[in-house]
Symmetry: C2
Subunit: 163 residues, 2 copies
């Protein structure tokens, strides 16, 4: 669907823009530069996630606990943003959650070649921010990271920050 | 719908990012700086428009003439990207087209206050690029501009470049 790929295309454009602008200002990119790009994309995602979850939960009943929130994110939220449900949700019941998406929408456009595996992080930063922003609006401060083992399968790790 | 607002939120983020980065590098923004921002957004939109129209026209019959292409853009394409059809299409039959959208999706989020009217151009640059990119992929080189009289109503002017 074009209106779905609209977001995918736009996301691709942003990623390449952020990296290009950093590179053009620094010449060769080192790890510090890459970290800057990731953090710019992550904070964009954060604000987008906040906006989306606000609309999504407007008429939702309040959640009874942390796990209840995570389940909502894995189902309703994930479906709206990434067009499918999370395939697997694991938790250690101590504030760490692993959300596995076996066909992550923003990776399916990338070839599954090994060389793209190194590229994956830059296509996940925005999404990590989206998840962190959504959780933050639901009262859960967290650190969200993502890793890809085999494309386009992706694992998001959420570590809730207890006060 | 959250998956619609997903694009809107992301678009807002890009606009504000592009303007912030330009401002931070130049301090006060002058017209030249604003022109740079507009052109960055426009070319992002151009590539997105190319990608989208490619998918959309994959199974479409070929178009019989320029007007036929414009009608497709006003209906199918506009609906996919901006979630409604163009309300009015005018042409001088010499390569100039005016597409009027009385409720342009990327403006509906902005307040209709007068002070936002000056802001409108920065929220239209990406969309002008999208339209130009789509037409370009259909073999029509054009110059696309947009103007807002009363928010959120917007007029896109397409001037086809004859070789």
């Amino acid at each position: 669907m074009a209106d779905e790929s609209l977001f995918d295309f736009l996301h691709m454009e942003i990623v390449s823009h952020i990296y290009k602008e950093q590179q053009s200002s620094k010449g060769e990119m080192d790890n510090k530069d890459r970290a800057v790009c990731v953090s710019v994309l992550e904070s964009m995602g954060f604000r987008v996630g906040q906006g989306l979850i606000e609309r999504l939960t407007r008429d939702s009943p309040s959640f009874k606990d942390e796990l209840d929130v995570m389940k909502f994110v894995c189902k309703e939220f994930w479906t709206k943003v990434f067009r499918r449900q999370v395939d697997n949700l694991r938790t250690n019941h101590q504030g760490t959650y692993v959300l596995q998406d076996n066909k992550f929408s923003l990776l399916t456009q990338l070839s599954s070649g090994k060389q793209y595996l190194d590229q994956a992080p830059k296509y996940l930063a925005f999404s990590c921010g989206v998840v962190r922003g959504a959780l933050s609006n639901l009262g859960m401060d967290s650190v969200v990271t993502a890793e890809v083992s085999v494309m386009p399968s992706c694992k998001f790790q959420v570590v809730v920050q207890k006060l």
